[in-house]
Symmetry: C2
Subunit: 140 residues, 2 copies
DNA sequence: AATGTTGTTGCAAGAATTTGCAATAAGGAC
DNA sequence: GTCCTTATTGCAAATTCTTGCAACAACATT
């Protein structure tokens, strides 16, 4: 299935348009499979679509995140990073060496229950990054 | 107890120096009590210490966070925000209206156990921000 | 296929954040 | 109190990110 066929309907259903810019950015993230900084998205996407500009990339990533097609998370240094929205998951990043692993959402599900009950907030749905010390760095 | 008496030893013990810049920034955060953006820290601190510059503020906040004297977290829009390190806590931010509440760390303690057991990471210690929909916004 | 509406983009300018490096000054040693 | 070492800062420049607005183009309608 092509990226266009997959994503265009999701946008149209919400009254938005599919554009070459959005399609290219989705295509880049879809085939990258991992987190990318906005600038790296721009660098790869502008090769596929000459004329694309940085402001468009920043705005588009934000827009796609808002609409659930991509997901944002934080790298160690406080900057946003984006990936295509797929299976719900979270991350643990090593404070020392920056190594990163994924954790299944199921591990957090009980916490979300607790938080919703305790706070009155609903639809808690975050892509969270925790920080710790990885097994490797523990040996030093 | 003065800010200097409280914080200087913590830095010296790690081989770092206390400076007017660091003291002023700590003083601002200490008396503010809540999260502040780097730029807001700068604006308040430069009034107490004319000549202070932005690069110093950014570097100092990062440095103090690294050394546990302040804590950083993410506002809704992906930017870092800083507060003086006090009781361990986390946040839930409303996706709609940006309202923010604190949650006690005790609610997350079981999760941290689970994560450490499942991942092999240790010293997981994050100041986490979750996103959801607040009680007010649920009514609309 | 042509038209109209309005969601999107590029451009230019501005604001926020980072980096390299030489000058400065904190604090230990004497 | 003076001297030394080197951690820290200010400055200038570069980079990254944001914003306002006019031109453009997606796509629904005819
Ligand atoms: Mn992820
Ligand atoms: Mn906090
Ligand atoms: Zn590590
Ligand atoms: Zn709300």
């Amino acid at each position: 299935m092509t990226c266009s066929a997959r994503y265009a309907p999701q946008l149209r259903a919400r009254g938005f348009r599919m554009t070459p810019q959005r399609l290219t950015i989705l295509h880049v993230l879809h085939h990258e499979g991992t987190h990318l900084s906005p600038l790296n998205v721009f660098k790869k996407a502008v090769q596929e679509l000459p004329g694309l500009t940085e402001p468009t990339v920043y705005r588009t990533l934000e827009f796609l995140a808002q609409n659930g097609l991509v997901r944002s998370s934080h790298d160690g240094s406080g900057h946003l990073t984006y990936e295509i929205a797929a299976a719900d998951h979270h991350h643990i990043v090593c404070r020392i060496c920056k190594a990163e692993i994924e954790v299944e959402h199921s591990l957090l599900a009980p916490l979300y229950q607790t938080l919703e009950a305790a706070s009155g907030f609903t639809n808690i749905d975050s892509h969270v990054t925790f920080f710790g010390v990885c097994p490797n760095c523990q040996r030093q």
